[in-house]
């Protein structure tokens, strides 16, 4: 399931890419509340839910609901599969940037950005 020179189409969208990178900043096993993620990305709840659903269908994230009534809370966790998929995505991105540069070396800030952690 690839597009744009081997980039994962599930991740390769501005909002979903932001969601994945934001969740990957957390330690493995940590979750981020839906409201905090929404606030960080500046999205409407509906828009974020749509993109999270696509990521969840691919097995990249898991949404966890806890509590009820006024204490209800929805959290989002990046799965191990999702972390691996993002690593593969950034590695592919770096290769594409390397092959696009005249001398094949990665020197631009964008290429540094694609480096996995």
């Amino acid at each position: 399931m690839t597009a744009d020179g081997g980039l994962d189409p599930v991740i390769h969208g501005p909002v979903r890419l932001r969601v994945m990178v934001t969740l990957a900043t957390l330690r493995a096993g940590d979750s981020l509340s839906f409201t905090r993620l929404q606030e960080l990305l500046g999205l409407t709840p509906g828009n974020l839910i749509t993109h999270l659903r696509k990521l969840e269908e691919a097995g990249y994230v898991t949404t966890v609901r806890s509590g009820s009534g006024t204490t209800a809370r929805t959290s989002v966790v990046l799965s191990q599969h999702g972390r691996q998929a993002l690593d593969t995505y950034t590695a592919t991105l770096r290769q594409l940037l390397d092959s696009a540069s005249p001398n094949g070396t990665s020197t631009s800030p964008h290429q540094q950005a694609a480096a996995p952690d």
Binding site: T25, D30, L32, R36, L40, A113
Partner: protein, 198 residues
């Protein structure tokens, strides 16, 4: 979305997430480094030339508490801001480290109180002055194991070594070691962390 646009999004999202969700380690290290350097440095200056040793001046001790209070408040604000909305292992680790720190200080105070009447002034001074340095070192080693952080491990090991070296020093030397080796160690790690993040 082009490859260049995707790379820009990765860079921007990563920087934003680190700014908002990750505790700024250089700031934390620098804050505690200044407490050790200025606080213990002030106490060291107040005991230099004392014969016999009478202990640091009240003002220099008060300065340490004020500086430590400011550092603790700053670290708390930074940690709280970064922790909003996050749940999971890192929250448990943070609580565990905080509990270890509090328990360590409590044990240190109890031991000092128990042995205060039966040991020399030098031994008591060593416990009171180098004890917190040893405790800080042990807590950083614990934190490094939980968080798999090599820099924290290096700092912890350095602080433990500095604290152990106090066993062979006079009280003024202990204060100098805490100020220079302790404060210097924190500030050096803060500088390395800052460089690694750029």
């Amino acid at each position: 979305m082009s490859v260049q646009e995707a790379a820009a999004i990765v860079q921007d999202a990563r920087a934003c997430a680190r700014r908002e969700l990750v505790i700024s380690a250089p700031v934390v290290y620098a804050a505690w480094g200044l407490v050790w350097l200025l606080g213990y440095g002030g106490m060291w200056l107040s005991v230099r030339g004392q014969h016999p040793y009478r202990g640091p001046s009240g003002v220099s001790i008060a300065v340490v508490f004020v500086l430590a209070g400011f550092a603790a408040a700053a670290v708390l604000v930074i940690a709280r801001k970064a922790a909003v909305g996050i749940d999971g292992r890192s929250v448990l680790y943070r609580r565990f480290i905080l509990a270890a720190w509090a328990a360590g200080y409590l044990i240190l105070l109890i031991v000092q109180a128990v042995i205060s009447g039966s040991v020399s002034t030098r031994t008591l001074a060593m416990m009171a002055l180098a004890g917190p340095l040893l405790l800080a070192g042990l807590v950083y080693i614990l934190a490094s194991v939980l968080g798999r952080n090599r820099l924290a491990l290096a700092l912890g090991a350095w602080l433990v070594l500095a604290a152990v070296s106090c066993a062979w020093q006079a009280p003024a030397g202990i204060l100098a070691t805490c100020a220079l080796a302790g404060g210097g160690g924190f500030l050096l790690i803060a500088a390395i962390e800052t460089r690694l993040r750029i």
